[in-house]
């Protein structure tokens, strides 16, 4: 009987392993430093009741905070005010853009930064024109344009952020 059940148990086990590995730590498993800061934020009592995803998020934020210099922390506080004003869908778009950006190799990232810098130098009306043109592109043409940018071309053909297409 036991022999017949064993293969099933072994089949189930790999499915369970990721769930066990990703469980966010309980309060007692946190480092003293984490407990000190989260405790000050009145999270001690309800930590174990928070969903795993929320705990993971708070711990990730805390780990970033602990790595930051006082100056970086000051800037982050300032930027939070700007972040707060953005609508949820804009925040989501920026998170996705950052995710895509970080997946690029360093040389491509440098290229993106250069192009973004050039774009920011343009007069506001020109930027708006380009945004409008971008919105009119089909998704496949937007992808083609992104690819061209990453090959070193300009996102809009003919000249720097040119007049073309």
């Amino acid at each position: 009987m036991k022999r017949r059940i064993l293969p099933f148990l072994l089949l189930l086990l790999p499915g369970w392993l990721p769930a066990l590995a990703t469980a966010a730590p309980d309060w007692d498993q946190l480092a003293p430093d984490q407990q000190r800061i989260l405790g000050e934020l009145k999270l001690a009592e309800r930590w174990d009741d928070l969903p795993d995803a929320r705990r993971e998020r708070l711990l990730k934020g805390l780990s970033h905070w602990q790595k930051m210099t006082p100056e970086e922390r000051r800037i982050a506080r300032k930027n939070l005010k700007r972040w707060r004003k953005l609508p949820p869908e804009r925040r989501k778009a920026l998170r996705q853009r950052l995710h895509r950006y970080l997946q690029l190799p360093p040389d491509k990232r440098r290229l993106v930064r250069e192009r973004a810098h050039q774009f920011r130098q343009l007069p506001p009306e020109r930027r708006e024109q380009l945004r409008e043109r971008w919105r009119r592109f089909s998704p496949s043409y937007q992808q083609h344009t992104r690819d061209r940018l990453l090959r070193g071309g300009h996102p809009f053909s003919r000249g720097p952020m040119g007049r073309g297409r």
Partner: protein, 77 residues
Amino acid sequence: MTRHLPLLLAALGAVTAQANSAPEDEPLPSVELLEYLADFGEDENGRLIDPLSQAETENDGPRSVSYREYLQRQTDQ
């Protein structure tokens, strides 16, 4: 005087210990700030990147309209 020396040293030690463990001047992060920092990315050199660095302009987001107007437009679309 010699009798008071251990007491003085003990007191001095306590003061020094207190000074060393004094809480940082810097205020603690809020829960909201931690959630915002969770959205930061990290490059291969361990450098943190703010998602706002991906915004086009300083005022990225609802430009030249109030947030309420912006939401209204979204609803109308």
